[in-house]
């Protein structure tokens, strides 16, 4: 095929041989060859592609990364990031061999250990339960060990710990933070594990817990799935409807084009979020309805670009040539026009996913669209807003996640634009 260009290159001195080549290759090769042809940097695309892939992997397997289930109540309420929850831990003398509750088990028939606790605090109950559980677990084992500790109650924290120092009890069980407060007074004592066998510093939550004790990080990771599902499905539906309409309108032209364009322009001008609010309000909350509402908004974006491109490609000589040798309209659309619009569609798609995620988050922030139990960033933000005075971590991290995912997709769109439209590069 000879290249016939309608517009001569603006700066004839420049080497523009790639412009001829670019017309002949497909989508993937354009990305790969962009650097060689006109020095387009694809590091922008690479960075965003790594981020995008990362988000998609998290969205596919949130369970692998999330420490807890998103709905499980796993800790105390309003635990700040990095702060340790109050857990009952074992306090033993420095020279003792005991580190966990299980180590205190004694053979059947021997004297069971005594454990000191503070009177009137719930640790005694927790200790009893845990000892019972361990006992049930080990009593059928061949060693014949049992764990039925005697629980000695003391009136104050100091007295409880003193009892261990004096040897009246083998160990004490107190709240971890309380021991930290007085540990200087009892240099001969050290911390064992918690009564459930964790170390005292375990059980922290990297991003804290929310108002009902769910792990913020786990909800964040599971929220990726919802965001990706909404972003991709809405954009795909919009693409599937918008691209053929744009092709047809641009190709057929006439009153069909004028009418459709008027409808699409009106839809495009209308504030998308408000239309989505109306649609989800009528359809009711469900992820499917959100996808429907958002995809309606983005049909015009594809339509407008594809129509414009079709109009200009239609005038190319090779289309005229195909027409003159009697190619059918459908064939011309499929073979000559459609391949030309793919790059722009790829760019819009990428930007569109970002937009759709933003709109979806906005909808669920308003309390529309998604059922309130689902792990979603917008819902978590709306929930966190009520506790803005106490729990900054509840509103900071989900928003950061939205920003990063939107940044990843829009950066990718930007990078692709640069690769496909080298003329824009210098801007």
């Amino acid at each position: 095929m000879t290249e016939i260009k309608q517009h001569p290159p603006e700066t004839p001195a420049e080497d523009t041989s790639w412009e001829a080549e670019i017309q002949r290759v497909g989508f993937i090769r354009r990305i790969l060859m962009a650097r060689r042809w006109y020095g387009a940097d694809w590091w922008f695309v690479s960075i965003s592609a790594v981020m995008v892939v990362g988000f998609i992997v998290v969205a596919l397997f949130p369970g692998l990364f999330a420490p807890y289930s998103p709905d499980a109540l796993v800790g105390p309420r309003f635990l700040a990031p990095g702060q340790h929850p109050e857990i009952p831990i074992l306090i033993v003398p420095q020279d003792s061999s005991i580190t966990s509750l299980k180590d205190m088990a004694a053979p059947e028939g021997q004297i069971q250990p005594s454990i000191a606790v503070v009177q009137g605090v719930p640790t005694a109950g927790a200790l009893n339960e845990q000892a019972q559980a361990i006992d049930n677990q080990i009593k059928n084992e061949p060693e014949g060990l049992r764990l039925r500790p005697r629980i000695e109650r003391f009136t104050s924290l100091e007295e409880t710990l003193q009892a261990v120092v004096d040897g009246k009890a083998q160990a004490a069980v107190v709240q971890s933070t309380e021991f930290e407060r007085v540990s200087a007074q009892f240099p001969t004592l050290r911390e064992g594990t918690s009564i459930t066998g964790q170390t005292a510093t375990a059980g922290g939550f990297i991003l804290g817990t929310n108002d009902i004790g769910q792990d913020v990080l786990s909800r964040l990771l599971w929220g990726t799935r919802v965001a990706i599902i909404i972003g991709f499905s809405a954009s795909i539906v919009a693409l599937v409807l918008g691209v053929p309409l744009g092709l047809l309108a641009g190709f057929i032209g006439g009153s069909f084009d004028r009418l459709l364009s008027l409808v699409m322009d009106s839809l495009y001008a209308f504030p998308g979020l408000i239309l989505a609010i109306a649609i989800t309000a009528v359809l009711g909350p469900s992820i499917l309805n959100v996808i429907v509402a958002i995809s309606v908004l983005y049909i015009p974006t594809y339509y407008r670009i594809v129509r414009g491109q079709t109009l200009s490609v239609k005038e190319e000589i090779y289309v005229e040539a195909a027409q003159s040798i009697g190619a059918r309209s459908l064939e011309i659309l499929r073979l000559y026009i459609f391949p030309n619009v793919i790059p722009s569609v790829a760019i819009i798609f990428s930007v569109n996913v970002a937009d759709a995620i933003l709109t979806g988050a906005g909808l669920s922030f308003l309390g529309l669209g998604l059922p309130p139990t689902i792990a979603d960033w917008g819902i978590d933000l709306a929930r966190g807003q009520r506790f803005i005075q106490t729990a900054w971590w509840m509103i900071t991290f989900p928003g950061l996640a939205i920003m990063l995912i939107v940044l990843a997709f829009s950066m990718m769109g930007e990078g692709l634009t640069e690769i496909f439209n080298p003329k824009l590069r210098e801007r």
């Binding site: 008027l262 009106s266 001008a269 609010i277 359809l283 906005g362 309390g367 803005i388 990063l404 939107v406």
Partner: protein, 365 residues
Amino acid sequence: MSPITLIALIVGIPAILLLVYIFVRGSTGLRRYILTRIGLTLPMVFILATLVFFVLRVLPGDPVRSALGPKGTPEMIARIRTQLGLNDPMIVQYGRFLGDMVTLHFGNSLTGGHRPIIDEMSERFPATLELVIPASILALVVGIYGGTLAAARRKKTLDYSLRIYSVVIYSLPIFWLGLMLQLLFGVQLNWLPISGRIDPVIGTTIKHITNLYAVDALITGNWPAFLSVAQHLILPTFTLGLILSGVFVRMTRINVIETLQADYISAARARGIREHVLVYGHALKNAMIPVITLIGLQVAILLAGAVLTETVFSWPGMGSYLVERISARDYTAVQSVITVFALLVALISLAVDVIYSMVDPRVRY
């Protein structure tokens, strides 16, 4: 006179006078353009109205049943349906819907106090205006100045930082920016209030004339109220304004760079005109033309952003009214608010196009 008519008069009369002036003084081409553009607005309003009607009436879901909830007996549902004319054939309902829209007849709230919706709107609409106008001004100032600065210092650190700014700003969820500003300036530093339009105690002293609190306080010389209004305005204005500014930075930068490469700029440069004058005097003026079109396109983002900003800051405007009414399942109010939004979009885009055609004589049909 109700505040909403007052505002309509304040905004509407000068707008119409300006339009008439442009029309009378303009060339034949300009006149033809304005007429065609008005002619195109009507189908746009019609299509948007049809869209609203389709979404709210044709899509499945019974508004009356959901408004009444489980306590609605079948008789009550039937009675209200007849009252609202929901049992009529779709085409009759559609005709009545269009008629109501033209006459701005909105009816009463379906749930709650059953207040006339027009009364609610005359309280809510000025609040939205009070938020949207300063936010747009902020966005334009930051956007145009930042964009020109970036273009003038092309490929320098400032240019790169402004480009990063516009990309990051685009990716920020507007409600999150609002929350972060609240957290920083409202909660941590405790400098600014984080919700409402005015301090509730001072609010009782304000006289409601236009319901634009800042204007009302100024007219009546109520300085404490004005101060309170200004304080309450800062965070929402910055939230909405900064989000909008990103696109303007980007567009202004591209256009100024493009204009700076034009021949007449090179000619001016050759005549020894200083770079500063070149950028701000010669290039910016021409670069502004496409930015004006962008203003028209940003109206949609502005209104959608206003809905979220109002919700974050408990700002009693149209957006939060819409969200409130949706949770109250008040479908007549929801329909009215969305219709008003549609009308606004159509009118603003008409206004922007007319101004555009006046600024740039090349635009004609």
